[in-house]
């Protein structure tokens, strides 16, 4: 071991290559911590709902007309971002720009629809604990969507400046990973707030 190590440095890659680098681990810790935050938000929902008297849900059958297509849109944006990342991997810059730009636009559309969804509610943030949980949880998610869009715009700009190559692109992969996280966590929020009432939770 020692002899090989001492001889080794000439052969070691310098700086982040592909996904291999400590930045990837940094993104992982950020996502772990933020994932935990959403776990606690959902815990707050389930705990409050489970200990509340009957009739706690303000909307026993939450309307899915906006929320369901919006969810599909957000998931598709993840796919588009991934497709853009593959563009960087293949050295196809136009495809990469299309992917990151497209994902940012789809994310923005999601945010607008979610805002319309908020406006359509008949209750406000202080109406009851259910209303507070709904607005604060989806609000936290909205903040993450906006941050994720900022990340997508940044990697769009950096790709436009021709910073990356198939080897040097950890920043891109970390940014796209964050966007996947934003989308995946929405599935949990969506399931909790829009689907579990149909299963009878909190009615």
């Amino acid at each position: 071991m020692i002899e090989t190590v001492i001889a080794a440095p000439l052969n070691l890659p310098v700086g982040p290559i592909r996904r291999h680098g400590i930045g990837w681990w940094g993104a992982g810790t950020l996502i772990a911590s933020e994932g935990a935050l959403f776990a606690y938000l959902l815990f707050a929902y389930y705990y409050t709902g489970a200990t509340a008297p009957r009739g706690w849900l303000l909307e026993p059958s939450p309307p899915l007309t906006l929320a369901l297509p919006n969810t599909v849109l957000l998931l598709l944006s993840s796919l588009v971002a991934w497709w853009g990342e593959q563009g960087v991997l293949k050295g196809a810059r136009a495809r990469a720009l299309l992917g990151f730009g497209g994902a940012a636009l789809m994310g923005s559309a999601f945010a607008v629809v979610q805002w319309l969804e908020w406006r359509s509610k008949s209750y406000g943030i202080g109406t009851s604990s259910y209303a507070s949980l709904y607005f604060v949880t989806t609000g936290f998610h909205m903040a993450h969507v906006l941050l994720g869009i900022a990340v997508l715009i940044a990697i769009f700009a950096w790709t436009a400046l021709d910073y990356f190559s198939p080897r040097r692109r950890l920043v891109v992969s970390a940014g796209v990973l964050y966007w996947h996280f934003v989308d995946a966590v929405w599935l949990f929020v969506f399931t909790t707030y829009y689907l579990t009432p149909y299963l009878g939770f909190g009615r």
């Binding site: 190590v5 911590s33 950096w158 990356f164």
Partner: protein, 591 residues
């Protein structure tokens, strides 16, 4: 810490005898809450992070932490949030509902001032510091060790801080969220904790203790690691049961995630829940006992050299056992019902926090001070320091168990002269001043020895680990040559014998082009890349300035200030993450 101590002394003066009126009830409330906040959030964890941030690269044979700028950010935010929290205290708006701040006491109806808003926003702010610090420890432990330092060769301090950091990463969001929701309830009329609006007051306690109990382990496991690494040096032999101690560190934390309800036994939760959490709280004794027996065996099988550091480390074992047994007692539901909210619990938590945090930290100061400054602390003064602290501490807190058993409730600003409470409290107050005098001796020793202490040289204790192979104080780059490690005790290899090759400390990678260190694989520490380290950067400081403006703006509801702060913070992050050629994050040829 000095501030927190002074607050405790004020309270002990007030409680020295029955029916004293040095402090008003309101002042007393702020004092005990601020004392708790200071000692737990601003001293106990940051002091360990400080030690670890300094020692880790040396212990691990690395040039720096994995993310030096994150390290800076963690420090700046700690400073800014500490000032934020204390700004509340000096303007008469300190926390005043206990450090764990239960609703409805903390809700707006019962606490209309800014006290709780200072505390809530300050804690969310401080949480950022803890979280980024934890992320840095995790990545450092897994990615920037000396080649050959496989995971079963890590010093136990690294195991302790790593375990604590993993916990912090996932439990700090619970308390940040709780404080954020509290602030929303207070300022924006949400109904999270308000039963009138369908809210659930117990949600506060759950979120707080889901964080709070793992946090207790986060502020003792690194300190236990200090003992596990320091004690064997003075016993002149390797730690007994290294693997068991390392595993029990991790096991303690895994159990630690599932015991939070033992802080809530008296809240009327269902019996099945109480039984489960009681069982888990009792079972957690097992991994703790493994460490205790390993330390005792190390002393028994070694040839102890009694130094001040040894005295602090070994006395910690005794205090840990006392604090552990009182914890074990209150893990039992009926006993807890009897003792909860009495001084018994106060005695228990001080044995745990002072016994397992402060004593190891002072021992670690005696142990590593020569490495940090190049000079030894004075041993003679050290003996005085130890015995004053040890006697003062036990004088103060051992009788307090009895005060609690006699039923005196905690958090009450004065008391009537029932059943001997007065005498016991007087003893406690005297003991607390003796203890404080002991702490003062430490400060005097540090100031005195910094200039005039005996020169230490590289390795004054003849210790086995990597930090003792470099000059004291170490150069900025720590290691001129990245060492290659062949065992747990690289500097004791010739005398321990054993299989495998010898570590190589003077031949290895130079990595002398700019700021570089080596990246190694997570488990076996095989070198797999060269890491480019960033230069000094203003981004962390700017980010802290932006966040400070944001939090002050939120507190005072000056939205313009909050907006400007958020914008500065975003720009600082953008500048921070801008792909740099020096760090090889982008292709230089593509400029």
């Amino acid at each position: 810490m000095a501030l927190g101590g002074a607050e405790a002394l004020m309270m002990r003066l007030q409680l020295a005898g029955p029916n004293l009126s040095l402090l008003t009830p309101a002042e007393y409330n702020q004092l005990f809450s601020t004392h708790g906040m200071t000692m737990i959030f601003l001293y106990a964890s940051p002091v360990l992070s400080g030690f670890s941030n300094y020692l880790w690269p040396l212990l691990l044979g690395s040039r720096d932490m994995a993310f030096p700028r994150l390290n800076a950010l963690s420090y700046w935010i700690y400073l800014a949030s500490g000032l934020f929290l204390y700004a509340g205290f000096v303007t008469g708006n300190g926390p005043n509902d206990g450090w764990f701040n239960y609703v409805p006491y903390a809700s707006r109806d019962y606490s209309p001032g800014l006290n709780q808003d200072f505390y809530a926003l300050g804690m969310v702010f401080l949480g950022i510091s803890t979280t980024v610090g934890a992320a840095n420890f995790i990545v450092t432990a897994f990615r920037t060790r000396a080649p050959g330092m496989s995971i079963n060769r890590l010093p136990i301090l690294v195991w302790g801080t790593l375990t604590a950091s993993v916990a912090n990463l996932v439990v700090v969001p619970a308390v940040s969220l709780a404080f954020f929701l509290l602030w929303m309830d207070r300022q924006f009329g949400t109904q999270f904790f308000n039963p009138a609006g369908g809210g659930q007051p117990l949600l506060w306690q759950h979120l707080f203790w889901i964080f709070g109990h793992p946090w207790v382990y986060a502020i003792v496991l690194p300190a236990m690691g200090m003992v596990s690494d320091g004690l064997p040096v003075f016993c002149r032999r390797p730690l007994v049961g290294y693997s068991l101690v390392a595993l029990s560190t991790v096991a303690t934390m895994i159990f630690g995630f599932g015991v939070w309800v033992h802080h809530m036994f008296a809240t009327g939760l269902p019996g099945l829940g109480l039984a489960f959490f009681s069982g888990a709280s009792i079972a957690i004794v097992v991994p703790s006992a493994v460490a205790v027996f390993a330390w005792i065996a190390t002393i028994r099988l070694g040839r102890p050299v009694v130094t001040t550091a040894f005295l602090f480390f070994s006395s910690m074992i005794l205090l840990f056992v006392i604090g552990g047994v009182s914890g074990f007692m209150t893990a039992s539901v009926p006993v807890d019902w009897q003792l909860t909210d009495t001084y018994f619990v106060v005695a228990h938590l001080h044995y745990v926090l002072i016994g397992i945090n402060v004593f190891p930290v002072v021992g670690a100061t005696y142990f590593w001070f020569p490495k940090m400054t190049g000079r030894l602390l004075d041993e003679r003064l050290g003996r005085w320091n130890f015995w004053t602290m040890f006697i003062g501490f036990n004088l103060a807190f051992l009788p307090m168990h009895l005060t609690g058993l006699l039923g005196m409730p905690r958090r009450v600003y004065t008391y009537g002269d029932y059943g001997g409470w007065g005498t016991l409290n007087l003893i406690t107050s005297i003991g607390s001043f003796v203890f404080a005098a002991g702490v003062l001796l430490l400060f005097i020793n540090v100031i005195k020895s910094r200039k005039n202490g005996a020169l230490a040289g590289k390795n004054p204790w003849d210790a086995p680990t990597l930090e003792w192979s470099v000059p004291s104080p170490p150069p900025a780059y720590n290691f001129a040559v990245i060492p290659t490690v062949a065992s747990r005790y690289p500097l004791w290899e010739t005398r321990l014998g054993g299989e495998g090759g010898l570590s190589s400390l003077d031949r290895g990678m130079m990595l002398d082009q700019g700021k570089e260190t080596v990246g190694t694989s997570a488990l076996d520490a095989e070198p797999d890349m060269v890491l480019e380290m960033p230069s000094d950067s203003v981004a962390p400081f700017l980010l802290t300035v932006g966040l400070s403006a944001l939090f002050v703006g939120l507190l005072l509801k000056v939205w313009v200030l909050a907006g400007i702060g958020a914008a500065i913070a975003l720009l600082a992050v953008l500048a921070w993450l801008w792909p740099s050629t020096d760090l090889r994050e982008r292709e230089p040829t593509h400029d």
